[in-house]
Amino acid sequence: MLLYDTRYRSATIQVIALIFFMLLAAWLINNTAQNLAELGKPIDFGFFSEPASYDINQRLLDYNSRDTHLRAALIGLLNTLVVAVLGCATATILGVIIGVLRLSHNWLIGRLMTVYVEMFRNVPVLLWIVFIMAILIETLPAPRAFRGEDPAASMLLGDTVALTNRGVYIPEPLFSRSLGDVHMLGGSGLRFDISLDLILLLVVLGGGLWVSRRIKRRADRIQESTGVRPTTWYLRLGVIVVPLAIVLTVLGFHLGYPALKGFNFQGGTHLRNSLIALWLALSLYTAAFVAEIVRSGIMAISKGQTEAASALGLRSNRIMSLVILPQALRVIVPPLISQYLNLTKNSSLAIAVGYMDITGTLGGITMNQTGRELECVLLLMLVYLVISLSISTVMNWYNESVKLKER
């Protein structure tokens, strides 16, 4: 019998497993096909070219309610990425600070950070999101409180930032001698503009970084041959900052400040409460987890490493950057990646505060309007799957590069 012969045993089991799996898949697909035929909605992605006829108030690209569902989904996807990137950055910074402070010899600050970590880790993130949303709406002043001779509320940072219960208004970057935009993909649903100013700035910045690296290499070479390292920090800084400043001046860079006009603030960039609440809640919640990761990463490096490094005559900042950090990062990065993934997936809770991310557009209003549950939910899953897999690929690649080189 095939199962008892060790030569064929594993192949037999695998074939049986495969047959079972295919039977299960066929059963599910058959059921789905029958149900859809009964409901009279065969799989059809035609709804993507129909007008969405709903509005999205927080967006990166231009959009109006006459645009298609496809464009609405694209805007939603960009919104998801915005909040994910913002959240990951803030969560990392906050998490590192809190993790380090939790290890502090200061008893009070250590306890305070423990309270923070336990408080955020043990309460659902959805509760934090709606809670922070409620704080923003209930406690911040309305725009009209900024009006009048003796206003009840005032703008912050020298009249540049306005915190209101309709959102936060911050200055926006403007160019008075702008190079203009390039319109890509014309009138289609995927159209977008590329700002030539931004491209120029990025090119100049990249060039500066490249030259700065060349200077560092040269300094390394000199140090290796003569033992004396030339002082280069002002040169390295200068080749980045000076060209950038020149380009900014040539383009006529200035900030557009928000100002109260009529019932609301005009000008500046308007960050809606939903975005702020989601961003803050995700960052604060994830920061608690990141803090624990950082703490355990630092604690994983034995004291002998520090002592050996100082016995070699390294200064304390060199010990940190050459000995402790590279080893701690190796422990920190893999769990950090999964926290980034969690944050990105948790950003789908945007739907609870009305931030129009991909779940709110494709999986929310579009799905309810068109009644195309199967197509919408499957596409939604696909989008998240692609985002998750790309983050983990990039991070695994990084992880591979810092991995312990073993024989």
């Binding site: 199962l3 594993s10 089991i13 695998q14 074939v15 497993a17 495969l18 799996f21 599910l28 059921n31 789905t32 029958q34 149900n35 859809l36 009964e38 402070l101 502090s104 010899h105 200061n106 008893w107 009070l108 600050i109 305070l112 336990e118 408080m119 880790r121 043990n122 309460v123 659902p124 993130v125 959805l126 509760l127 709606v130 809670f131 409620a134 209930e138 993934l341 997936k345 948790n346 789908s348 809770l349 739907i351 609870a352 779940t359 999986g363 799905m367 549950e373 199967l374 939910v377 939604l380 899953m381 998240y384 799957l385 998750s388 897999l389």
Partner: protein, 435 residues
């Protein structure tokens, strides 16, 4: 010439350490004010703590326990001098609705059933959680509990859970007979087939027959009356209990040498871990009925339970895989050299150690799943968050926010914090001194 040399004959009494390095002052100098940076940190955190407490304490200590509406609370606060009626909490809403936040719309005369279910849960968990402190015979009650739990919550005829349990009994009997007569593999397959035939074809007939002969049952409760923390705990417990065995199977599949089995498991785990829970809940609320044979329409809570279980099992599988990977290779080789087959070595040698290593991960998955049960409010189930919206829709309590969120957050905190402390206790207890 006199002898001037002096030798002390007894020890001097010890001097007390200087006040600045001992006692409270010494402790403070060492832990709070060592260096200017630490002093600054201490002062800043003191200011922050005082600021937060000065805002929260008067708000919490507001004499509004007896209020029956938000307006009444505000009047009581104004009378007590809490700046204009807005400076304090309105605890009346918790007094009036706490029972609803716990049980949702479950019929009030039947509250004893969920309470009994959760008390019995503690009894059933005791032999597993505190194996050294309770009699071992209690494990039989733990085995029966999965059938008692849904019966107590949903009610209905007593024959349903008994028939479900009978399926396991039938499968086991067939397995024993066939494995003695033919082989253990035939026994396993035969037992599985017999149990499946019983559950899918015969049990329904048997239940209705027994029901007509001997109608024993308790009042049935519909799923849509479930709500509050009862719902969260139910989803959490069922998902956690079902995901552990599923996770073990998936982890073993992922570690297996059989390529096809391995890739099926990897595909499932990575798919589930790559999508947010909310999309799986959308599947539960809109698509699961489409995937089933035409005409199937099963309960929304059951559908959510299925999807949350699948979700949790993928995470559980990764945690257990970590435990398997952390086990030294010598353990596998040792099991092989003793002549144990795959399942024996897994059951007797690998799994007990791998599960022990993965306890912290398993508990944090438990906590994560329990917290994630709040997401069901997005698809319209009345978990505590969903109920808080329902309560706010009441004209009496329109505009109440912090009290409800605070109460819900506190309950979640108590549960999750308790679980994490238990995991630490378990880690210490199972520590066999390998470090």
């Amino acid at each position: 010439m006199s002898d001037v040399s002096f030798v002390r004959t007894e020890m001097l009494p010890e001097k007390a350490p200087p006040v600045t390095s001992a006692g409270a002052i010494g402790w403070m100098r060492e832990n709070l004010f060592s260096g200017w940076f630490n002093t600054a940190l201490t002062l800043v955190s003191l200011v922050v703590i005082l600021y937060v407490l000065s805002a929260i304490v008067p708000w919490v200590l507001s004499p509004t326990w007896s209020g029956t509406s938000l307006n009444e609370c505000r009047e009581m606060l104004a009378a007590a001098g809490h700046n204009g009626g807005h400076g304090g909490a309105c605890w009346g809403v918790i007094r009036e609705r706490w029972i609803q936040l716990l049980f949702g719309f479950y019929p009030s005369e039947l509250y004893w059933r969920p309470i009994a279910a959760f008390i019995l849960l503690a009894v059933a968990l005791a032999p597993i959680l505190f194996s050294d402190k309770v009699p071992g015979k209690l494990i039989w009650f733990s085995a029966a509990y999965p059938f008692i739990f849904p019966w107590l919550l949903w009610g209905g005829t007593v024959w349903g859970p008994i028939a479900a349990a009978a399926g396991f009994g039938i499968g086991f009997v067939v397995y024993r007979i066939l494995s003695d007569a033919v082989s253990s593999l035939a026994g396993m397959i035969g037992g599985l087939v017999a149990a499946l035939i019983w559950w899918l074809a015969l049990s329904g007939l048997a239940v209705s027959a027994l029901e007509s002969i001997l109608p024993i049952g308790i009042e049935a409760v519909e799923s849509r009356k479930f709500g509050g923390f009862m719902l969260s705990i139910t989803i959490g417990i069922v998902a956690i209990a079902c995901s552990l065995p599923l996770g073990v199977v998936l982890a073993l599949g992922r570690q297996s040498d059989l390529l096809i089995v391995k890739y099926l498991c990897v595909g499932f785990i990575e798919f589930i871990r790559g999508v947010p829970l909310i999309t799986l809940l959308f599947v539960a609320s809109t698509l699961l009925n489409i995937f089933m044979p035409p005409g199937t329409n099963f309960d929304i809570i059951l559908r959510v339970l299925i999807m949350v279980t699948l979700f949790a099992s993928a995470y559980m599988a990764e945690v257990i895989r970590g435990g398997l990977a952390a086990l030294p290779k010598g353990q596998y080789e040792g099991a092989d050299s003793l002549g144990l087959d795959y399942w024996q070595s897994q059951r007797l040698i690998i799994m007990p150690q791998a599960l022990k290593i993965s306890i912290p991960g398993i508990v944090s998955t438990f906590i994560g799943v329990f917290k994630d049960t709040t997401l069901v409010s997005i698809i319209g189930l009345l978990d505590p968050l969903g109920l808080s919206n329902a309560i706010r829709a009441d004209a009496n309590w329109n505009g109440i926010v912090w009290e409800l969120y605070g109460f819900i957050a506190l309950l979640f905190f108590v549960f999750c914090f308790g679980m994490s402390r238990y995991s630490m206790y378990l880690e210490r207890k199972l520590q066999t001194g390998h470090r």
